[in-house]
Amino acid sequence: MIKTSYVSRTVAELKPSGIRRFFDLAANLEGVISLGVGEPDFVTSWAVREAAINSLEEGFTSYTANAGLYELRAEISGYMEKQFHVSYRPEDQIIVTVGASQALDITLRTILDPGEEVIVVEPCFVAYAPLVTMAGGVPVTVQTSKADDFKLTPEQLEAAITPKTKAVLICSPNNPTGTQLGQEELVMLADIVKKHDLLVISDEIYAELAYDEHFTSFAAIDGMFERTIVINGFSKGFAMTGWRLGFVCAPKEISEAMLKLHQYAMMCAPTMAQHAALEALKHGMQDVEDMRRSYRRRRNYIVKSFNEIGLECHNPGGAFYAFPSIEKTGMTSMEFAEKLLTEELVAVVPGDVFGQSGEGHIRCSYASSMEQLQEALKRMERFMDNHSK
């Protein structure tokens, strides 16, 4: 008898996320200091939580408009204008989604025909390539390098373009490298994108966490508004990961098409989370500023400390990740992470789970208290003393 599989071939062939295996390993140990967490250490501000509680008490428990509460979209529109100088109409250019992840999902499914290629810049968030595949597209990875501070160069971009290329997916500031693209770099990339008539999917979820220079949105670059889809949300900058609330801004033609998918697959984002987000945008910007300052201090601390103990690390402009090189130890990033976990009880994420060019690096989130970071650094210093060649 032939055994039939109930799982589609596409899904069966998806690689499970490398992060999962590491999570299982770390979760079973006691006394672990984790630098493996990809979310803020702040709890959502009380004002925002209180607004959500109030919305429940007031009985706001029904669906909202498919694209999200109009009032929230209007606030998002004002926010995008004020922070990033791009203007999107709340009526037909903004959709409130279930996290930036769903925004990415409907973006890819909206723009891709079978076999079309999306350039994915690695190291990057583990979901990009699988989401492209699930949308029927083909992910084409480009490997950035430490020598370029993990920035995509115009030459690399151009070399990856084929007649089938539909879009480039870029995340800045980046998870896992923390690398932020400056305005001039965006302009150079934009020239190539325009030349080849491509779209840019710009994952700007870490936009609020830019420490050294003001964040520039891809959509704000001359001539890019019409060919950029901006993905953003409340998870990182507003410390609202568990609320699962994101949004996507796009030119009308694309966002209206996206809304069709969104209404069939999701109806709308959760209502109480939308009320919470409304409060966050209306009164939460000072909290964002305070959190940004706090991350910046810790960024400075961890990067300088890593360099001191022999973990060579470029200065990440944003997000809350440092991505030091472990070359000195001669280990693979998986070996390093496993040894560090078992010998010193510090959890970091091996860089290769974010793509081939992440090999030789580890991702360390500094979204932990200073006390935890200090202790982690002490343990890692001992580890480096024991294992440096």
Binding site: F23, G36, V37, A127, N175, R298, N300, Y301
Partner: protein, 166 residues
């Protein structure tokens, strides 16, 4: 006086932890350790940094028997010196922890600590209300401190995040 961004950053950090290691403080800012020392010294000399204190939850200590009262004081301001003169007369008493000039229904908010309610009552009736400019006092005793100078006393921070996430 105007401070630059580095100086402000140093203040923001040590306001929350004045015992921080100077080396770590330097790492957290864009300053060297030597610069940190110079900056702190300067801020101390300017009396921007006035004193380094510790927040203590005395309610947890059995040996402690103190009480704290907040007293609303109405006064007659004096020509030429306004409220400053009477404020000075009040804040010089060692029982007085804080004195603020307030907008609203009364003029000075005075925080007084004593060993007992009786102690505080005595201070109010004998020292405070007998001052020439003082018109009236209303004394409120603090029964429990939940949060003091931005610190919640009863809070145990627990990290609810999963250990590793993408």
């Amino acid at each position: 006086m105007h401070l630059n961004e580095e100086e402000l950053e140093v203040l923001r950090i040590i306001e929350n932890n004045s015992r921080i290691d100077m080396k770590d403080l330097a790492k957290m800012t864009d300053l060297s350790e030597a610069d940190i020392e110079i900056t702190l010294k300067k801020l101390e000399e300017m009396r921007v940094i006035v004193r380094y204190l510790t927040v203590i939850n005395w309610a947890k200590v059995d040996e402690y028997h103190g009480v704290t009262a907040m007293i609303d004081v109405k006064v007659t301001p004096k020509r030429g010196v306004g409220f400053d003169e009477v404020a000075k007369r009040i804040y010089k008493f060692k029982e007085v922890q804080s004195v603020y000039l307030m907008s609203g229904a009364y003029d000075l908010s005075v925080i007084v600590e004593g060993r007992s309610m009786n102690d505080v009552a005595k201070f109010v009736s004998e020292k405070l209300s007998t001052l020439d400019s003082v018109i009236s006092t209303t004394t409120h005793f603090i029964m429990k401190k939940y949060k003091h100078d931005g610190t919640i006393f009863d809070q145990t921070e627990e990290d609810k995040r999963i250990v590793v996430s993408p």
